[in-house]
Subunit: 216 residues, 2 copies
DNA sequence: TGCCTTTGGTTGACAGTGTCAACAAATCCG
DNA sequence: CGGATTTGTTGACACTGTCAACCAAAGGCA
């Protein structure tokens, strides 16, 4: 019998399971995650991961918790400057960068097939933190313009920023968009263009506008 | 043995399978779709659906094809008026209405776990049609403003409209947003507010703006 | 230190799934 | 009408998540 907590590349079994599961998800998507495959890859019996996770959902919830924590950290990572509006745009770039670097992870986070959040209360802590980062960005921007920023105004705009960025990154990842007859340049430039438009919708001067009164 | 093509509520078996599968997807999500459950519900052997669909993916592809066709029809359904900008906003409402009425279907269409489009070429025809409807709406709007509307400009804006609407409806459906501490009113009003902002970003006068130079 | 409890692993079984394969009845078509 | 095709049934297989029992190692405590 295998010694307990045998080292797996320097990790105990629990951490090794998480790492392996994340690797599978990142390459094949969460729907392909099987705990038996995790066990096989780690050279343990199929039941061993269940010693550390009550069910597949518990393992997945831990992965998701970590993913949202990384997401919040990515939004928070650009340093603050004395230009809040610019900071908000940079945060938008960080958002896109995160989703683009880890598309399958992003899909898991927002794809609608998560373990039940009520059974796993810490799973979404990172999502709440991320929203707080967005709120803060909006609030700094409004304050920088000496505009009133009551809670509901901040929330609405933070939510709009989120939905817009989410729309850009998630739609571009779909097969539906993949099959459209779009010029390669339209695809390549779209994300940046969309960020500019979202910024404009939030009242940020992002430079040239194609629609909205200016000409390119 | 069961008579062939026995009537299932007036449908042949193939159509009955599609209807049953759609019912399961619409209530439990596509990840819960099992062809054995479809067969059980129809009172046929577990292998019978495979007489009409080579695999689960083939059945799913047919469901998705129909869903995108419905989607395109929903975008197209509002009648044209002599106000193209207004028509575009109404189309946005139709988009939201479709996604809101059938959330699990919408999630299937854009969720990233579809059968391979290369194996099922007709699956995305409705997506291309829908994009054409968006293009047409943008083109009419630009023409109505006597603005130039070369193909790339139309495409960029149609894609922006799509990503923004998609962002709104899909993000609001996620568990991440479900766990945020948002005032109920902020949630209730968000969709309409977001539509207004997207409209504004496309240069449509949608009335009061919270940010963007006007005050509410 | 020795014994009991807990932890963490192994093995086996079960139910459910998609799919492969063989068989048989019904239908089609020349 | 007879042979071919279509359409259904039944059974098997491999894979999955989970239940259950067993056992060795480790930990705790008198």
């Amino acid at each position: 019998m295998m010694a307990r907590s045998a080292a797996h590349a320097g990790l105990d079994l629990r951490e090794a399971c998480l790492a392996e599961a994340l690797a599978i998800i990142s390459t094949a998507g969460a729907e392909k995650l099987s705990l038996r495959e995790v066990a096989r890859r780690l050279g343990v019996s199929h039941q061993a991961p269940y010693r550390h996770f009550a069910s597949r959902d518990h393992l997945l919830a831990e992965i998701v918790r970590g993913a949202f924590a990384d997401f919040a950290a990515a939004l928070r990572s650009p340093p603050h400057t004395d230009a809040p509006a610019s900071d908000l745009l940079v945060m938008g770039m960080a958002y896109v960068g995160f989703a683009t670097a880890k598309p399958l992870q992003y899909r898991l986070m927002f794809g609608g097939t998560l373990p039940d959040p009520r059974q796993h209360p810490e799973m979404m802590q990172g999502a709440r933190d991320a929203f707080d980062v967005l709120r803060e960005g909006i609030e700094r921007m409004l304050a920088g313009r000496s505009e009133p920023h009551p809670r509901d105004v901040v929330d609405r705009n933070a939510l709009f920023a989120w939905s817009s960025l989410h729309g850009v990154v998630s739609l571009l990842q779909t097969d539906a968009i993949g099959t459209l007859d779009l010029a390669p340049q339209t695809r390549a430039e779209f994300t940046l263009l969309a960020l500019q438009k979202v910024g404009a919708a939030l009242g940020i001067d992002t430079g040239n506008q194609e629609i909205g009164g200016d000409t390119q």
